[in-house]
Symmetry: C2
Subunit: 397 residues, 2 copies
């Protein structure tokens, strides 16, 4: 009677949503201080003061100057400001005509896939991967092809990607810094991937697009610098959002960047515009377009995340859990001491520890801890993590 696939998507249980709902309920029962909720990816750093200042400034303007429709791709001056910022940072020569503003990274990915995919096309993702990738690929007529990351460091396994490529491969989605692992793909790995893809497409004359989903681009620690992927592989489309870097996840503002070096640039950029139109995105929210124009170079304050990362790694060390030391984003990827990650997550719950089993991300045997939380949550979680580890006979490292 209705679209049963959409109904199933709406009804689908989600481990993350269920943990979050459970956490709210449990906090009511035993007090918020006694529940340690690492289930979410909601930024815990406030948006910069400049955003609040600009909001108030715009509220004083005549409303007609503030709230009207914009062109579908976004206000030209806003797109040019973003292009200028990217050019300063990455030595490129983008213009407003390379950018299409969106309602956040989810919209960017959905629009890009809708623009590219034709029935039967395959899209490679590196597992573990953000679960909505499969929804958007399948909704837009494609088939998801997961390729496992290297088991030791979760970098891209380029040989495995090469083996997964078929005549139907249209695109590869990369997410670096990575959700859920926190890994940042190194330049040598990306160059190896790019060389392999160039060799393949020279043989077949059928381009393979890289779709670089990078909402965590600025969230990196120490001396790590994420490579600018379009500078390594020319056929790269970038999907970005200010949800994490400016802590504006509910405001829905991001972009699709189609560099001029992309195969068939004009057709691809037209298709991005067409896909935004077809899906019902009229324009990105206008007030946040204008805020981004003035915040394109705003530095990200990641000191709090860096402190949390260090503290949570120490908690894991003291308890004896094995994990991948994260270079970016705000997630810690921890090995489950039993192969059934869901069972481990359930057992953690008995200690009021809310952790997401890796099955949600297309692999078994791990859990994801989001450390975008108050530092006190991490400090207080040390004892319960130790108690949990003790049940599995783990020893401090």
């Amino acid at each position: 009677m209705i679209n049963t696939y959409m109904q199933a998507l709406g009804d689908e249980p989600s481990a993350i949503r269920e943990l979050f709902a459970y956490g709210l309920q449990r906090k009511e029962q035993i007090g918020a201080d006694n529940v340690f909720d690492f289930s979410l990816g909601n930024p815990s750093i406030p948006a910069p003061q400049k955003v609040s200042d600009l909001l108030c400034e715009m509220a004083q303007l005549p409303p007609q100057q503030v709230h009207g429709y914009t062109p579908a791709a976004g206000l030209p001056s806003v797109r040019q400001a973003i292009a200028d910022s990217l050019n300063r940072r990455f030595g490129e020569d983008y213009t407003a005509g390379n950018l299409y503003l969106t309602c956040g990274a989810a919209a960017s990915l959905s629009i890009t896939l809708k623009a590219l995919l034709e029935p039967g096309d395959e899209v490679i993702v590196i597992a573990p991967f953000f679960p909505e990738y499969s929804v958007w690929v399948e909704c837009h007529g494609g088939t998801l092809v997961p390729v496992q990351a290297r088991p030791d460091d979760f970098q891209i396994d380029v040989d495995a990607v090469a083996q997964a490529i078929t005549p139907h491969t249209k695109a590869i989605i990369l997410n670096s810094p990575n959700n859920p692992v926190g890994v940042v793909y190194t330049r040598p790995v990306l160059e190896e991937l790019a060389a392999m893809l160039r060799a393949r497409t020279e043989q077949t004359a059928r381009p393979i697009f890289l779709i670089s989903d990078e909402p965590y681009r600025e969230l990196v620690y120490g001396s790590v610098e994420p490579a600018w992927i379009p500078g390594i592989y020319s056929n790269t489309i970038v999907c970005y959002s200010w949800s994490k870097s400016l802590s504006l996840p509910g405001e829905r503002i991001g972009y699709v960047l189609v560099p001029g070096s992309v195969d068939g640039f004009e057709r691809v950029y037209a298709a991005v515009n067409g896909a935004g139109r077809a899906l019902g995105f009229v324009c990105a929210p206008v007030m946040f377009q204008r805020i981004i124009e003035r915040c394109a170079d705003e530095a990200v304050n990641i000191a709090a995340y860096e402190a949390n990362r260090k503290a949570l790694c120490a908690v894991m060390d003291q308890a004896g859990f094995d994990y991948i030391a994260p270079d970016g984003a705000f997630y810690l990827w921890v090995r489950s001491p039993e192969s059934d990650a869901q069972a481990f997550s359930d057992r953690a719950k008995e200690h009021e520890l809310l952790v997401v089993p890796s099955d949600s991300f297309g692999v078994g045997g791990w859990i994801r801890l989001g450390y975008c939380v108050d530092e006190q949550v991490i400090a207080r979680s040390a004892e319960p993590f130790k108690a949990l580890a003790a049940e599995y006979g783990l020893n401090p490292r």
Copy 2:
């Protein structure tokens, strides 16, 4: 190489966009006061002062309380406030669980169609119709079936709709107050349509949904009161936006209402959630969710539109053009004095009058004038309209 349908949509010429771009260019050439641009549907009334006040108020709050993710359907308190407002106005008993907040009416329509349509389904629209209906229906796998409105008053031709119904008919989109005609469907016509649909679905046991697209619901003149369509036909889904009523078109905030009386309510509401997820809408922009919570009962100031409507009708009368007196929205539907509306629009341009030919809306022989403009534009257009009419030998009415 990419999705050619999306590319075609992105490249497609649009009479409205082209007129708008021409208008901007022409205003630079001969001065803004000498161009009479009736091509757009961008509200000319400012957003209420309360919106600006609330923006500034929220800018003072801790940003974590303002900009975070919300549940996909929207904040429960916001949805309940909207439900309460609808209940007060229409004597219903909706709750937060009937509402799904969206990025505006375009998103509402796209999501609703995605939720309902399966391949081969047909969707009836009443011509003339908003051109994006065909994009969303086709993008989501359906076939558009236009049915002409009654030629004299542009009300729904219920017999013609009955004849267009097939076993594949999934839904009928209604838009009242109507863009482009300005007609408001009368209660008797809607009751006749509802009775016909009930009789049909009793025979076939296959429900037919009404999708009521009503962003202009509050923009009505004199004593006209648009009927509350779910009160007439129980299987009605409402798509709404505050773009026109609060003059916030660039902010992208609206809703889908699935009343409990809709056939298979729980499955349909789940499918709406699934479709929002599949298309890449994570949540509606959060600050405007919170603003709507406090503005759900805000009265619309339509005095300016009412004055413009009266003034523009007088201009048409004085020039001798025939038109449909509008009961709502902010459009005047004027008969082209030659059968080729595009040719008439081109000729109007020679008098610096920018008017949209009806071909954009699926019918020939008319033009649309948007009177969401400064009153001075209307006043100054009187002479050029007279001159244009004289070329066709028309006489003042």
